[in-house]
Symmetry: C2
Subunit: 117 residues, 2 copies
């Protein structure tokens, strides 16, 4: 067995699409209803506009989100989750619960946890 384990067990592909500082949050927010970029920016105060749009584009490319362009001017678009994205969100939920349940003991010093709310 010389194959690479993360790929073989499925965690590789899964992490590739969901790794991104805000992708989980975006998925979660878009699940309830289609969201416009400006709306997401206001809901996630710490996200930069660049990262938001970059994440959205990648998630569309990965088939997690659909981008609907209303063709209006000024521009109006909305992102909604696809079936694939919904499935991912479903399996992510238990992970989020785990994280929440044990958040207290997971406060080791990780560089990126210094996001002061």
């Amino acid at each position: 067995m010389a194959t690479n384990l993360p790929e073989a067990c499925g965690l590789g592909p899964a992490f590739r699409v969901i790794n991104g500082k805000w992708k989980g949050t975006i998925l979660w927010l878009c699940r309830k209803q289609p969201r416009r970029p400006g709306e997401l920016r206001r809901l996630i105060p710490d996200v930069s506009e660049k990262m938001l749009i970059q994440h959205l584009r990648e998630m569309v490319a990965d088939g997690l989100l659909d981008r609907h362009d209303f063709g209006e001017i000024p521009p109006r678009v909305a992102y909604s989750v696809t079936d694939l994205g919904r499935e991912l969100d479903d399996v992510l939920t238990p992970l989020a619960h785990w994280g929440l349940k044990h958040a207290a003991r997971l406060t080791r010093d990780h560089p990126m946890s210094l996001v002061k709310a």
Copy 2:
């Protein structure tokens, strides 16, 4: 609500402990039985020794793994999953299944997917 969503929903803490190129794989391999570092190196051909040990240490610090030192010379240690690690592995399994199921359509060009097996 000015709090930061990834933290609030639990995905923040969860990703912080499991993000690391090989952590999921390590968890999975150590679940079945305690593993020695050298054993893991052979099971995961692509991991560098530095990353392996770094990951192991972080996972111990996060309470996912236990490090047992046999106090022998030459050195012998073994890593086994804790209850917390087992819980995490449980919620990671559905995510891995999702990744496996949809691996084919998730072959977009991500930089780190160029790990030639």
